[in-house]
Assembly symmetry: C2
Homo-oligomer: 215 residues x 2
DNA sequence: GTCTATAATCAGATAGAC
DNA sequence: GTCTATCTGATTATAGAC
């Protein structure tokens, strides 16, 4: 087999693979693992059901791939900071990224929420190890900032929960938010409004000043 | 038929009815509407599957009853206040009730979250009418308080979303929170910790003072 | 009112032609 | 690699004995 053929084939493989993953992400996000059918995923991907089984050994394997991809993307995009950084800059940046992520890729947070609501059977281990470790590290940095008097002392873990909940709300409860605001979808101006109020309330709440209020 | 017999029968009916509703609430909360099976509900209720169909015509009818009951309970327990009330007292009380509700009856919020994540097919109408109306009324009160200079001006709807998200987080993401905090379940002391930090950050964030910080 | 048995449909997974 | 046909088991719902 010529190399060019090989490339073309693996290109097709890659394309189908991603197509299925994307379709699965949407369907799983809407109805959770148990509530989603391979049929629904196949239809969304525009393929016969059997093709999915050609690329993924079974439903659970597909689900794990989708979840894995989300966790990897989340770990890349967010949350690396050190005690040397400026507290308000760090929180502002973190909140802004989370809001953007929630509004632009709500499926990801919805799928994650679905998984956690059903008891996190697939990611309990991940939460107990990597996520807990990450939270411990970042909490320690918060604590140092508080000890230095750079911010008001509040429980660091719960502060992180507040950031997660307020931002992810716009993904998980997207349907409710849009219905209440009488909008069809999020617009770019919404990202800014949301980021602004969440940042302002939380930063002020822990004794910090948002950059746009300084001087 | 004697009256006593009639009473006994309707008592049995009531007991079974509630038993099924409670079982259904748990199962639907964990796996959503599509992901839940009548079988699982029957097992949790300790009844043969057919008995459920004796009390509820079908799966959707059972689901709607469960949802209905949650919405009624939520409407009773929370959130009646007027512009004459004191802003910090109102917010403190509202947040405390929501935290208690989230920690004590996480199923309810989980089920609601599940419904909204899947696009709110069963309650879109409720959200568009009653809930939107409620939000408009309360937002108007917030706005009056802000106009009077009693609190810092922020978007009232989004402020409400922040209260909902931070409190409901402890229900919807209960599994994650407990895994991260390395706890088996919420304790009474947790209710207080959570209420305290959420209240403190949000109230301070909108320029109010929690009661325990006054004088 | 309760429960076993069963009809009818749907879902996950595979076989095998192309 | 792709797709139709099909197997097997689960699921909703009902029939009918008790």
């Amino acid at each position: 087999m010529k190399a060019s053929e090989n490339n073309r084939k693996s290109h097709i493989r890659e394309k189908n693979y991603l197509n299925i993953l994307n379709a699965a992400e949407e369907v799983f996000a809407q109805n959770g693992f148990k509530g989603s059918s391979m049929n629904a995923i196949a239809e969304k991907a525009g393929l016969p059901k059997a093709n999915i089984h050609y690329y993924f050994s079974n439903k659970m394997a597909l689900y794990m791939e989708v979840l894995q991809r989300i966790l990897v993307e989340w770990n890349q995009g967010l949350g690396e900071f050190t005690e040397q950084d400026d507290p308000s800059e760090v929180l502002e940046h973190y909140i802004a990224s989370k809001v953007l992520q929630a509004c632009q890729k709500p499926h990801q947070s919805k799928l994650f929420a679905s998984e956690v609501i059903s008891g996190a059977p697939a990611i309990a281990d991940y939460i107990r190890t990597e996520m807990r470790q990450w939270l411990r590290e970042k909490s320690a940095i918060f604590q140092i900032w508080m000890d230095k008097g750079l911010m008001k002392p509040v429980d660091p873990s719960h502060l992180m929960f507040m950031i997660w909940s307020t931002t992810q709300h716009y993904a998980d409860y997207q349907t409710q938010v849009l219905l209440l605001l009488n909008q069809q979808e999020y617009e770019t101006s919404d990202y800014e409004t949301i980021t602004r109020i969440v940042t302002e309330v939380i930063l002020t709440g822990v004794g910090l000043t948002p950059s746009w209020k300084k001087q």
